[in-house]
């Protein structure tokens, strides 16, 4: 699939004139709202990357705030979950995980720190590589599994495909719909609608948001990752908010249906069950974590190993970590610019908080794309 002029000509979803037409429509909509501020939240690192990369905030009307919520799965992995991986590595167990996870800080260091101290930690791009590692070895291999439901599906499919007996999973998988409920209900929340991620909804279907909409009377718009997709999604959201319409709107029909990918959903829920747990910096999220069902306990690293956390928890977080605003940023209460560490003491080379580690973290994305993305207020 080499790039060709003809395929680039077909970039209909990125047409510059259309971008400006949609932006103009957003300005009209906001004007009709008579100066009322509107805040919407998206929950996807890829959405934030696209918004930042294409400079979309510079096109938005002054009263419209587009906030990134807890859309970075690695960032919301809680400290004790990281600690479990670190503890296993320190106990000499071989760990495989996604690259984003490596430098996410736990209570007492990250997996990268554990690796520097002699722990055996391999970075893989797919769980399939971790299974291969186990097949080629007689020793135990633990896959430290992170990611939202889209990624959890691949972990589940792997466990249903007869992995070797020396392979197990430490699941830190998270499920997005429940955290939307918590964020919407937070005291002082200004969120009036959600932009939902297209590829996640490709699997779950847009129907997964209907119970949320019924309970919270807030609109949800499913959108793709093109600049035009995102602007069209924002137009749809502002329309729905102005009209008081609480419903799910699917503006990514070229990929998302109401029922989604049933095969993938079946695989996901056969292997995982939702349980409550903390998301870093946000809250305890009922049903927000995905754990292996009892039938798969033999593949569950938490059943297979005695994970010794007590030894890790003797050191207190440093003052630098206490100044980190990651929690407020993940909950959408603060932006990276509210943090005194942002791009100063906290950089991708020396991250203090998880939001600067992951390529899907708000701080990392803002740092990479210039640090000052809201050109409306640029000097």
């Amino acid at each position: 699939m080499p790039p060709t002029a003809s395929s680039l000509d077909r970039l209909e979803f990125r047409d510059r004139d259309q971008v400006h037409r949609l932006a103009a429509r957003l300005h009209d909509q906001m004007q009709r709202l008579g100066g009322e501020r509107v805040s919407v939240m998206h929950v996807c690192g890829t959405h934030e990357q696209a918004i930042a990369r294409f400079g979309l905030r510079a096109l938005l009307p002054a009263g419209l705030d587009v906030i990134m919520g807890p859309g970075c799965p690695v960032c919301v992995t809680d400290l004790p979950e990281v600690d479990e991986g670190v503890a296993l590595a320190r106990q000499g167990v071989r760990i495989a995980t996604y690259g984003d996870m490596l430098r996410v800080p736990g209570t007492a260091g990250s997996l990268a720190d554990a690796r520097s101290a002699g722990g055996r930690i391999d970075v893989v791009y797919s769980i399939a590589q971790a299974v291969e590692m186990a097949r080629k070895s007689s020793e135990e291999v633990v896959f430290f599994a992170t990611g939202f439901e889209t990624t959890a599906v691949t972990t589940a499919a792997t466990l249903l495909s007869d992995p070797p007996g020396n392979f197990s999973v430490l699941s830190a998988h998270k499920y997005i719909p429940p955290v939307m409920e918590i964020v919407a209900e937070m005291p002082g929340s200004r969120v009036q609608g959600f932009l939902a991620a297209g590829h996640a909804a490709t699997i779950t279907g847009w129907g997964v948001f209907e119970p949320f909409v019924a309970r919270h009377k807030l609109p949800v718009v499913v959108a793709g990752f093109e600049p035009l997709d995102i602007l069209a999604g924002l137009c749809g959201l502002v329309d729905a908010i102005a009209a008081g319409n609480a419903a799910v709107y699917n503006l990514f029909p070229r990929s998302v249906s109401r029922e989604g990918n049933r095969v993938a959903q079946d695989v996901l829920w056969r292997v995982f069950r939702p349980i409550g747990g903390r998301w870093r910096g946000i809250a305890h999220i009922p049903n927000g974590n995905l754990r292996l069902r009892d039938e798969y306990a033999r593949f569950d690293a938490r059943s297979r190993f005695e994970i010794d956390l007590a030894g890790l928890w003797q050191s207190a977080p440093s003052t630098l970590v206490q100044a980190c605003r990651c929690g407020d940023i993940l909950a959408g209460r603060s932006s990276p610019e509210d943090c005194e560490l942002f791009s100063q003491q906290c950089t991708p080379e020396n991250p203090v908080g998880a939001c600067m580690v992951s390529t899907e973290g708000t701080c990392r994305i803002w740092h990479e794309y210039g640090g000052h993305l809201d050109l409306r207020s640029a000097p």
């Binding site: 990357q49 889209t150 590829h199 996640a200």
Partner: protein, 94 residues
């Protein structure tokens, strides 16, 4: 990690497909794809699994976005995500 990347199926053996991503070939698993996949089809790859068979009429538009992303420099964050999805990057330090 919620980005799927399109590729063209070259061969299918059981539950494994050989898929071409801009000249990089990878083995992609078919356990959760929503429709039967055959050589010539395009699929959306998410961390080594096909999560969707892309309908033929949507292939051009879907691929074009990714070609635009890949045309950016190696340091671009989104281009990096796409490269990571096709396993083309050195993932040693995340």
């Amino acid at each position: 990690m919620c980005l799927g990347v399109p590729g063209k199926v070259l061969d299918v053996q059981g539950m494994t497909a050989t898929v071409d991503f801009w000249g990089v070939q990878r083995q992609i698993l078919l356990h959760v794809v929503d429709a039967p996949v055959a050589p010539g089809d395009y699929i959306l790859n998410h961390v080594g699994f096909a999560i969707r068979r892309i309908p033929p009429e949507e292939v051009a538009a879907t691929v074009a976005l990714f070609e635009e992303l890949l045309s950016a420099g190696k340091t671009d964050l989104m281009a990096g995500e796409v490269r990571a999805q096709v396993g083309e990057v050195d993932a040693s330090d995340g």
